[in-house]
Symmetry: C2
Subunit: 332 residues, 2 copies
């Protein structure tokens, strides 16, 4: 069977037509049903329309439609502690039988015995030791296995749901809406790049190559002739604050046109994104909903939103108010 060129052109035209109509401005279908009507939703819809309108002054070619999202507190819950920290402590307990010396060594002893004061007393140095022991000194595959096993079963202490069920439904819709309009969506997180990759595609539709995050030094060796990647107990890159625009430069190689964060750790990413010459949109999620999720901003040990909140108005960044702007928080 062969297809005549005319038939192929006709089919292509039909494809184009359908696409055009389904993306038409009429907004017959609400692409963001979990967002309440208001300034935030309007800003998002208007921005997407503007950069995809070929006849408009703000048109951006599809290849340059890069959107970046922070993860912790922007795409999923980050309270009462960063999810990855819970992974760290669970992992110490899981690994303890192979490390009898941990029974009498802080901060490991504190983690095993549930004595968080003892852990906290070891300070930043102690936290670093926990991180190294659980994220380094193993093959890339062993680490991936550990993450996959944990994420499939661990449950959030308050909501008693798996962490991947505590992602924000409005953000899932927004990412879908962006992708449907030619955007490439990246995660740019302070969290571990390889901690997110095993589940980000299934949960967010973001493939591994579009996840940017903090990383450990990794080396390559042949083990019994088998090519093996080994994670070393040494941090390679911290993708937070000033690190985020650097991570974007290194990994993506072009300036995003939309950046969505929730804390001062995202300030530089949003600054960098909205300093571009063309149209751009910067957003911060403000956690204002103690009933359905959490309420926090200027103080605390997780997700501090302070300076960015002060700057938002003059910089034209959108502050999304979880309580007001989101009809639902979590997927059903």
């Amino acid at each position: 069977m062969t297809v005549r060129p005319q038939a192929r052109i006709a089919a292509a035209l039909v494809c184009l037509l359908v696409t055009d109509v389904s993306l038409a401005k009429g907004r017959q279908h609400d692409p963001l049903p979990s967002w309440n009507e208001g300034a935030a939703k309007e800003a998002l819809l208007t921005f997407v329309e503007a950069v995809t309108d070929e006849s408009g002054k703000d048109f951006v070619p599809a290849a340059e439609r890069i959107a970046v999202f922070d993860n912790d507190g922007t795409l999923w819950v980050e309270q009462p502690v960063y999810t990855q920290l819970t992974f760290v402590t669970d992992r110490v307990k899981e690994m303890a039988p192979e490390h009898p010396e941990w029974k009498t060594t802080q901060p490991f002893q504190g983690v095993i015995e549930g004595d968080m004061d003892a852990v906290t007393a070891t300070g930043e140095q102690g936290m670093m030791e926990l991180l190294m022991a659980t994220h380094g000194g193993m093959t890339a595959e062993a680490y991936e296995d550990a993450v996959e096993r944990w994420i499939a079963t661990a449950r959030h202490p308050r909501f008693d749901r798996r962490y991947t069920e505590l992602v924000y439904q409005p953000q899932l819709e927004l990412m879908d809406h962006l992708r449907a309009h030619g955007f490439k969506v990246f995660i740019v997180s302070g969290g571990g790049i390889q901690f997110m990759r095993p589940w980000a595609d299934e949960v967010y539709g973001v493939p591994p190559e579009q996840v940017v995050g903090s990383s450990f030094v990794t080396t390559f060796e042949l083990r019994d002739g088998e090519p093996t990647l080994v994670r070393q107990p040494q941090i390679r890159f911290i993708d937070d604050k000033e690190g985020k625009p650097v991570g974007i430069y290194e990994h993506i190689g072009r300036r995003p046109i939309l950046a969505f964060g929730n804390s001062d750790g995202d300030l530089q990413m949003v600054q960098y994104t909205t300093a571009g010459e063309g149209p751009s949109l910067g957003l911060f999620l403000h956690h204002t909903d103690a009933r359905r999720e959490y309420a926090y901003d200027r103080e605390g040990h997780v997700g501090v939103l302070d300076k960015s909140l002060d700057l938002a108005a003059e910089e034209g960044w959108v502050v999304v108010d979880m309580k007001k702007d989101w009809r639902v928080v979590f997927p059903k």
Copy 2:
């Protein structure tokens, strides 16, 4: 205007049909016209058919169809010296007026005066100084501008063509063929990641975010309130040899199923790729064509292909013989 669901489904079916037929096995159209018939071309076509045949045992879902290509000597000419080295020396000459001290300081003096013996005498340390002076100590934008200006005008000493015209036509066809079959094509090069990005999309169809390479430490700062990325005179990562699988892990986050290199610098990348559990294909381009391009392999200062050549047969890697396997080398 609205479109009924039935009309959209019908249109989608037509789209699918056209796609299916144009990708049918019949090979009515030769997707690789610049490849001569032979084992290499057959291996490539057969591999692509196998991993895209949904009913076959070697089917690979589109998302996992990752192909990685080395750049220097695999996608474009790397003789008589790596193109980026020519950029370095041209750049020193261009920057010399701002650096009067270079007139009397090696290795800069040697570059300016064309005294390559003096440059060579400074050894690796001298080369590093040239690299730092031309690739660090400037903003990301200034560096990009410099690369763009240079690549638009510099010409190869033997072929008197621009370097981007000295890419290999058979590889352009191969990358197109892979993309048409759902592959995501990455460059994984020992060359500078930001040296390739300004032109890789136009020349190879590889967008910036799919270019992996060596990099310099970059920092973020506000300069007069302007978010600015500054390249430091310090190497961050060398994406060569053992570094290539590491770069793939860091940047792509999954194991490729096709890897194409041309030197022992690509050995580990090909080893890692072909050690995967599913189907995979490793290839090395053998430069055998002194008349149309260059002939070199086991010795020299550029693109040494030695150990990989010895291992190819037992590992099942395809050695592409430029003289025999390629009908044409460069685009018309």
